[in-house]
Symmetry: C2
């Protein structure tokens, strides 16, 4: 009796979640301190203290009917205004509250943006490897995901020629994710410029705009000298999907937004439709108390230095052990070339060392693995001997 549409999804239930369950079982057998679980993207830095202080203060001093009530489907005016002003301060933009639609995290923001523009049969382009859920989100509207293969140079920057070839008259949007899950890559400004140029040309060619949907849950999580350009400055038809899941360590609370710049095509109609989409996908509005809480915490940030140290330690450790890793620039993922052509073999060998990682094919990136380093520092340090043992086994084989 399950929908045909859901059957393949039930069958192919998320690899990441399966890992999670396996990890729990393994922990029961060998003890949780001896399992190195790098499979999930669940932040392990606590939310800044300012968030709980704000919540308590709101509960003690504000009208509960307003605090817990329905509001405009786009969110509290004061929250949207504060976010617009914060963006304006940081990026020199001129956003107003109207440009911001509060959503239940980036997952929800992406669904709202896609529902606003997609009809069955439409196409959305993504650069492989990519966050697996995009395909499901796009599929929610019976539209097609068109994958652009990675550049052969191993940089995991977008392949511009591949992008050109992927555009058809059915192309409605492209999803861009920088800092990137699963690669940890941050696209430099030159890449954004190139992307903008090609999208403008291709929009012209096919006779309608291609929206650039910028999925930015990792926007604040960048290391060293990496910088994340504000994409609407480069391409008018940019729609930003933001989340506080990682920047404020609030993933369970479901809070983020869709940003629709005035310069984008049909921006007014887009805003109206997206607000309705927020309502009719059933979320109605982003959770209310947490909207009010983040309004007061826009300057706060989770402890990013923690992730940076983790990423660095892991990168150094694995590189020394002989693995070929992409240097982590943002997010909290390390993308590692599998010494085995079939990376699931490699994943299996790591599992023997009680190290749980995600095979790249779960992100349409076979031949690689993703190591999620939002874990305790000790987990990283203690996992390194296991990684080294596996490296040695491969060296023996390949020698």
């Amino acid at each position: 009796m399950i929908a045909e549409n859901m059957k393949p999804r039930v069958a192919g239930n998320s690899v990441i979640r399966q890992m999670f369950e396996e990890g729990k079982k393994m922990a029961q057998v060998v003890g949780p301190e001896n399992v190195y679980d790098f499979s999930l993207g669940n932040p392990n830095v606590p939310a800044p203290r300012a968030v709980s202080d704000a919540i308590v203060d709101i509960l003690q001093n504000e009208d509960p009917i307003r605090v817990h009530g329905y509001m405009s489907n786009a969110g509290f005016e004061e929250t949207r205004q504060a976010i617009a002003e914060d963006l304006n301060r940081r990026y020199g933009t001129a956003y107003r509250a109207e440009n911001v639609i509060m959503s239940a995290g980036a997952g929800s923001a992406l669904n709202v943006a896609l529902k606003t523009i997609l009809d069955p049969g439409d196409e959305v382009i993504v650069f492989a490897p990519y966050f697996v859920e995009y395909k499901n989100y796009i599929g929610n509207f019976y539209a097609e995901t068109v994958e652009v293969a990675p550049r052969p140079d191993g940089s995991f920057l977008p392949d511009m020629e591949g992008l050109r070839k992927a555009v058809t008259e059915k192309t409605k949007a492209i999803i861009v994710n920088t800092p990137n899950n699963p690669t940890g890559v941050v696209y430099p400004e030159t890449v954004i410029r190139q992307l903008a140029e090609i999208l403008a040309e291709e929009s012209e060619r096919i006779g309608h705009p291609i929206y650039l949907i910028s999925d930015e849950p990792y926007r604040e999580l960048v290391y060293g000298d990496a910088e994340v350009p504000h994409i609407p400055d480069y391409y008018d038809n940019t729609i930003i999907c933001y989340s506080y899941s990682k920047s404020l360590s609030l993933p369970g609370e479901r809070i983020g937004y869709v940003l629709v710049p005035d310069a984008s095509d049909d921006s007014q109609e887009f805003i109206t439709a997206a607000t309705i989409a927020n309502r009719i996908i059933g979320i109605v509005n982003a959770p209310s108390l947490i909207q009010l809480a983040i309004t007061r915490c826009l300057d706060a940030k989770a402890d990013i230095a923690f992730y940076e140290k983790n990423g660095r330690t892991l990168y150094d450790g694995l590189t020394e052990a002989g693995y070929d890793c992409l240097e982590p620039r943002g997010a909290f993922y390390l993308w590692v070339k599998s010494p085995d052509e079939d990376e699931t073999e490699f994943v299996g060998r790591l599992k023997e060392e009680h190290i749980l990682v995600t095979p790249g094919s779960a992100f349409a990136g076979p031949g690689y693995i993703r190591i999620s380093y939002c874990v305790a520092y000790d987990t990283i340090v203690n996992s390194l001997p296991g990684f080294r043992r596996v490296a040695e086994k491969y060296s023996l084989e390949t020698r």
Copy 2:
């Protein structure tokens, strides 16, 4: 550039919301105390104190990483377990945590249940008048809403013959909502029995089960001797969509659940698919802090006596003034026959008295209006002279 699918929705933007905006403007002109806004279903009884106490306690004493973190897409185990046990105590059932999938309110629960079973072209039956959003929710999956017209007896109980005629081989589900929005009717046990009988027979006839999706945000809001039967006791293929929006006055927080009884067809597969649906519609999981908070407040209730008094006062006042009203048994809506064949005329006349109500046609129930009485008691008392003046005008005309 907006999706074809969204265009009619943008054009026909919710009547209820338009009212809301008009009301705001009117309040600016004549003063908010002189506007009697009965258009929205936003609870105006504060959430029980237990909820904010629970939130503060959780923030002060529990691990923030867990409190604000991702959890299983179905929700916290402890929350689902507590809800199952609470239901078992109240209904003598034997639910387990696995039967409960936490959702972002009933709106989201309905979307999850519908996504689990609907493919494009499938049909879902509803009894008119009905909550307008059902049509949008069903439309999210490119399925069709099949309306059963009200019984001619004015009882606004479901028309069983109409139901039989509405079933086709494409029927996947029926949505039932008791206590009802917009009529305030509560279906008695005999009606549930009849419904169950017909659905069982029709399922047999068409060769596959028809799910009864029971939308229960108003389950606890019943007055006098009205009782809401636990529908799974009567019909195995019942899926309950519950919400704490009204029972705990937490509509903005987005918290509720889908209940899938073991006795329903393919219950295991349904639970798996619904959990995935929760994730891929972008909600990922019901908001975390509020899940933990309600876990501790399952015995609490918003002040229902307040709504009962409102409903009674309004019903008595309008009946005395000569209006034909359905006696309010549950929810917080009064369903009133329009003295004008075109109820929008009637709505217009009320508006001249600064009384804002919703025309029945917004619920596929023309010839009636819905008065939402989750307002201050004074609003009701002070609106009665206006209602009387309009009644007099109609009497003059019809005399």
